[in-house]
């Protein structure tokens, strides 16, 4: 059997590791459009950006691929999957046959269509060379403007402050992470950054980037002019062209077991538009999800029939605070807080009709992870237990094997 993985990011790398660990000994090919083997992206806005890590965090040591007989085909873009011929067409015109295929091509940063976006000194970050360019520029800079107070914007803001830059963040909504956690919790993230000297402009948006030849200032729709030596834009993503397997979300629709409508063709990671058994149709762009989907897709390619029901965990390190979140809630009618939002040591449990949908925490190490089985089980935990910092949520976990 020939297994082909398209996409050299974390999901693809995770899948090939699991395939070999599970004893698959057939031909295994990884096709990636970046020129380097799989690496982890989270450090690109943190340790790697700040220069504390000089090497990328490689997913596997370079020799692993040879030792495990994985054919790495790097710097190659896949164009299209030809289902009838069981082959992937590459941009260079060649074609790669497969018996099982995993598509894990990820997403790109959304292009921010405003005047001046192409000025030198205006950046976004997704790939290794992006982080290299931003770090190089930041090292000689004193002021930075960040567009968007989502996770990337917040992490880059924190890194720049740690590098000694003045930082101003422009955000359309009223708090950081507003669309993820709402204003009640967003204020805690805002306070974290303000304590470290970050300036925020909320409720405003970029009209244009200005500069004579290179970036000098952001001009907002509200009429502000914010000067800086560089700007970093983090305004969301769009799915990569989905190789002819696409759908309404730009992603690739997969069933609960991560298989596309084409038999033997699976998708994992950011691009997978997954029929999640708890959350419904959903596409998420988290590190842990990429790893776990890769692991599950690998097992299912080998004939397992595992329903992927993980409740989506992620973390974000900002300064010395660790934010964690799990689950999925676009709306909630109740929020129970354990600990103190003001002290920024808390967990917030978001409930809808009494069902725990999502947990968010700052510097409470265990609550999010311990709440995950409850989210998957769509449990209705008592408010008083959620609110009690001493109560161990594991006591509410469904009995093993009785899900």
């Amino acid at each position: 059997m020939d297994v082909v993985v398209v996409g050299g990011g974390l999901a693809g790398a995770s899948a090939i590791g699991t395939l070999r660990a599970e004893g698959f000994d057939g031909r295994l090919t990884l096709i990636g459009d970046e020129s380097v083997p799989p690496y982890e992206r989270p450090p690109l806005s943190k340790e790697y950006l700040r220069g504390e890590a000089t090497e990328p965090q490689w997913v596997r040591p370079a020799e692993w691929y040879q030792e495990n007989d994985v054919e790495l085909r790097l710097g190659l873009r896949a164009d299209r999957v030809v289902a009838d011929e069981r082959a992937v067409l590459l941009a260079d015109g060649s074609s790669v046959p497969f018996d099982r295929l995993l598509v894990a091509t990820g997403v790109r940063n959304r292009r921010f269509e405003v005047p001046g976006i192409d000025l030198e000194g205006v950046f976004d970050i997704r790939f290794l060379p992006d982080a290299d360019r931003v770090r190089q520029t930041a090292l000689g800079a004193s002021r930075a403007v960040i567009v968007g107070a989502g996770f990337i914007g917040c992490e880059v803001a924190a890194s720049f402050r740690q590098m000694g830059l003045e930082v101003t963040v422009v955000e359309f909504f009223e708090t950081p992470l507003f669309r993820v956690i709402g204003a009640d919790l967003g204020v805690a993230v805002e306070a974290l950054h303000r304590d470290r000297g970050v300036g925020f402009v909320f409720g405003d948006a970029v009209e244009r980037f200005e500069g004579a030849g290179r970036f000098e200032a952001v001009v907002t729709k509200g009429g502000r002019r914010i000067e800086g030596d560089l700007a970093v834009v983090g305004v969301g993503t769009k799915a990569d062209p989905p190789l002819g397997l696409g759908d309404r979300n730009g992603g690739i629709p997969v069933n609960p077991m991560l298989e596309t409508r084409t038999e033997g063709v699976f998708a994992a990671g950011d691009i997978a538009d997954h029929a999640h058994p708890v959350f419904g149709q959903i596409r998420v762009e988290h590190y842990d999800n990429a790893i776990k989907m890769g692991e599950t897709a690998a097992r299912n390619m080998l004939g397992a029939e595992i329903v992927f029901d993980d409740p989506h965990w992620f973390w974000s390190d900002q300064y010395d605070s660790q934010i964690q979140m799990a689950g999925y809630a676009t709306e909630w009618d109740d929020m129970v807080v354990r600990g103190s939002i003001e002290d920024r040591t808390f967990s917030a449990f978001l409930l809808k009709d009494g069902v725990l949908r999502s947990t968010f925490s700052m510097d409470r190490k265990f609550d999010v992870r311990r709440s995950m089985p409850l989210i998957t089980a769509q449990a209705r935990p008592a408010r008083a237990l959620l609110a009690d910092p001493e109560f161990d949520l594991r006591q509410l976990h469904p009995a093993k094997g009785a899900s």
Binding site: P42, V59, R60, P61, W64, D288, W313, W315
Partner: protein, 106 residues
């Protein structure tokens, strides 16, 4: 061959818990899995976080930083980002002492 090192009193690790001890020049985690002790290197091979700060679920320990999962019986990676397994060590409770024997001399 390394020596047995006393790191604590017997009974120091409660069931379902993990403690970390310095044994020689290594930090060793000791997990109590249903009454049986298992010792393994405390340092996650992914980015160096302390596994004893993580969660023990049956025989699986989960790293608190980025979710790497190891089987504490063997040290093998069973999921998540760690590129390598962790070393496992001998551990006993004898004469009221918790003792660990690291296997290498580094």
């Amino acid at each position: 061959m390394s020596e047995w090192v006393k790191v604590a009193s017997a009974g120091d690790v409660a069931e379902g818990e993990i403690n970390a001890y310095l044994a020689g020049n290594r930090t060793v985690a000791v997990a109590n899995v249903d009454g049986d002790l298992q010792a393994f290197d405390d340092t996650c091979t992914h980015q160096g976080c302390s596994l004893s700060e993580g969660e023990l679920d049956g025989t699986i320990v989960e790293c608190p930083c980025h979710g790497g999962r190891y089987d504490v019986m063997t040290g093998e990676v069973v999921g998540g980002p760690p590129p390598e397994p962790v070393d496992v060590f001998d551990v006993v409770e004898e004469d009221g002492e918790l003792r660990i024997r690291t296997r290498d001399d580094d």
